[in-house]
Amino acid sequence: MKDDRIDAQRAANRLEEPVREAAALARKLGLDPYPVNYWVVDHDEMNELIAYGGFQNRYPHWRWGMQYDRQQKQDQFGMGKAFEIVNNDDPSHAFLQESNSLADQKAVITHVEAHADFFANNEWFGLFKNAGAEGDLDATAMLERHGDTISGYMDDPDVDREEVERFIDAVLCLEDTIDQHRAFTAEDDRRDPGEYEDLRDRLDEMDISEDVQRQVFDDEWLDEFAEREREARIDEPHEDVLAYLRDHGRQYDEEKERAVEMEPWQKDVIDMLRTESYYFAGQKMTKVMNEGWAAYWESLMMGDERFAGDDEFLTYADHQARVLGSPGLNPYKLGKELWEYVENTANREEVAENLLRVRGITWRNFHDVVDFEDVRAALEPHSAIEGVAPDSLSDLAALGDDPRVDADALERAREDAVDVERYPWKVLTYEGLAERHFSLVKRQNRGFLERIRRSDLERIARYMFDDEKYDTVEAALDDVDYTAGWDRLFEVRESHNDVTFIDAFLSEEFVTENDYFTYEYSRATGDFRAASDDYRDVKKKLLLQFTNFGKPTIAVYDGNFGNRNELLLGHQYNGVMLDVEQAKGVLERTYQLWGRPVNLMTIVKEYDDHDVEVAQRRNREPEPIEVGTRIRYDGDRFETHDLDDDLRERIAAADVDYDTKPEEWLG
């Protein structure tokens, strides 16, 4: 039996230098990560961490057991190898698998540094982070605290353990029904539709004589009043369903045969799980961006900046090919390519803008008069910057006081105190590195500059005053700001989420090159069929997959529906119907959190049998009939009602369309 601790220790010692240098390199490149604590773990510990979503302690629940089971089987049967996991915390914690090769570890470390930068700087993560009272994120402690509290409830002799588990399940069915686009607050600061009291109750309490009540507040007036109140509430649906249930939910008491207050532990469990939902929302909303970001910087550090030693480079290339090469819609690949597109576009704008300021170059003649080969040659990094090496440091020194050179480091390097052979980037600044890795001169981006569209040139030129600033192309290119692309990357990483990212940067070129297409289900043939490869359609479908975690949006519309304290949820219908069977399962569990009947408004597509038959004969698709429906669950059974037209109007969005079926489809 080997001593595992010694192995882990040895692995850790080996990684000390790569960890230190990767963090330094990341900062040189303009990243601003949380500090990262690295841990070397064996494969079983890795499986546990993955099961727990990247943490060491969570509340007791079978879902972690399920994830662990899967992870262990995957590991045991060699179906896939996990290299790393990193969590969003300040400081972040990253766990490296002990059995990784050194090349893998280096790749993973550079990858992790980029994730830690994303966690720290993306605003969608900020929605949770900045809400904490003390202002620091301590997710590890928070999750551990939740674990301890819930364990405590389970061990409480007055509480049935299984009841706690069942209650958690009910909350988990609704874990994504939060208002993830708002900053997290513990309090629910929305105007509260539940606070409305039925006037009748208040009048009863006021001891007004029946005569007066009959004359002044007759039933008709009271009903109208209630109706007006309801209308007012319904105009402002409440997307934070969990908060609403925490604040107004009750439980049904079998003995008393009515809803009673929830137990404190129940409110507390909802509160904790809601907090966790908000904590994880940032990650779920930025998966493509975040993975792409990490893959982009990993590749730059490992490949272009040769953080992998020469002997490790092949192993690394193989590692990267496997990660990026996995089939289907791979978030690493999609994200990385979108980031590269952002970088190239910003660099191209910068270069084009300078060229348009050359006397004699206009947006009309741009493609005719500019020699793109010459431009590319002129944009190549300065030889001293490109070829930093121990024996060419004097070339760098010859540049004098240059913003691209880290003067202090160069000084030390000339005294042999910096290992320039292995870490050439140390003697350069952000500006220097930006020039060294300027995207438009890279082989894979050749042609990107000349592919700029005339309409883009016209847009740039339209507001340009100083359009004869340069006499020559050379002078214009000398003034190019090499950091334009990277500066733009940092801006985008701060403000976007997957939906806005894909919407803004998924280009026609990208969709075509990767052979993406949409598919739809055909009622006539009973199977899925390819529908469209138009990039607008592909984008539309992708946005559907990323908007609101890829799920339908559900909100509370009324907490006193029908004046009977029933809960009215509404599905904000965007043309895609929801899974009615699953929705009923959720309603059953929502009942456990509300204690009184629960309703869901939605719109269901129905197909007339005759229409389907006709459509099949004519090889086309039948038209669905959209039926407004209210599903009600009273703790015992389901009822389905037609939905009032005014309610239907409130949940149906008119201006969205995710259907990509062409007019002539099956022909």
Binding site: H61, C173, F517, P552, D579, R589
Partner: protein, 438 residues
Amino acid sequence: MGLREDLERFREVGEQRREDLEEFISYGNLGSSDPDSIKIPIKVVDLPEFEYDRLDKGGVGQGQDGTPDAGQPVGQPRPGDGDDGEEGDPGEEAGDHEYYEMDPEEFAEELDEELGLDLEPKGKEVVEEIEGDYTDVTRTGPNSTLDFERLFKQGLKRKLATDFDEEYVREAMKVADTTPREVYQWCRERNVLVSLAWVEDAWDDVPAEERGTWDSFEEMEGNVDQETTVQRIRREGLTEVPFRREDERYRHPEVVEKKERNVVVVNIRDVSGSMREQKRELVERTFTPLDWYLTGKYDRAEFVYIAHDAEAWEVERENFFGIQSGGGTRISSAYELAQDLLEERYPWSEWNRYVFAAGDSENSSNDTTENVIPLMEEIPANLHAYVETQPGGTAINATHAEEVERELGDADNVAVTYVSDPADVIDAIYEILSTEDS
């Protein structure tokens, strides 16, 4: 520790307790949807959520070399293809790990390394004779099979071997005071392939006034360029190639012995009433990597799945781990069926055979000694293994494994192992595979 308990409770969900979740349980597969890859069955409990209707939602796919035409069927969209589905995406919330798939061969290598095994597929090699290309040659045969190319090449070689620059040699004869023998010697030294007879024949043709043109061979060499054979052939063309009888060859087809390592694995499982979920899962956990390992080791692997209670029947793999019946147990029924199937489809002379059986060791009385053991001895196989899956130790009346071990434990092709929890699986696999190794 927390996770072990979570795992325990997960196993019980919808089975021993929490019947309310039973409707949300499905048994999915791990592994890619690639039909050749081996799949690991896995229990999944999907809590209901507000989700889009799967049919109405549609999706995005990725084509290979272009996109399919609109209206073309695309098959079942795979979960995970951009769908961000539960399958293949563990730890959705962390989402920061990287995976790659491994194929059976890699798996076998890993397992060899992990367990220190070095199981070389052995047993017979299946020999097939097939007609190869016409690559072999004999000295006689029908004209149509005459290898003219070879004849030509040989002739050409011969010509090149006997060819020399005649003009060059004639120049050498003009060296002052030389003799035919001296010229011949000089030619030999320079690898000019001339015979003494030829030199002597040519000697008299040299005009007397030209003799003494050169003072020495050295002077002559310095002034006359030797023309190479290739240059000469280019100049003169290939006029004459000496074909000879001895160069003739006739082609005939080659006999190729193709050797393939085939293996058939018979998986037998007790599906009787006593085999509950947990035992069932232990069987899967043991059999699946064994199947995978052997797939990786052999050129061609086939699998036979036999389920049995008191009777035995053959099933498809996808049903094999899921079946549960109510009946009693008679293990010999499975071996009888295995014997028939093997004789019929997988003759011992052509196939490596592995027979793996698993169950909880319960059997009807005397069946083990009277029927099963004789059958195991009778069915030729590289390896017979019995895996007892008995969570929480052996039950009193469950003695099948023990009896087999007692009777056949010394045979070098019989392995008996005991798996009482998932941690035992690797040991069991090692035990089984190292038995065959010895």
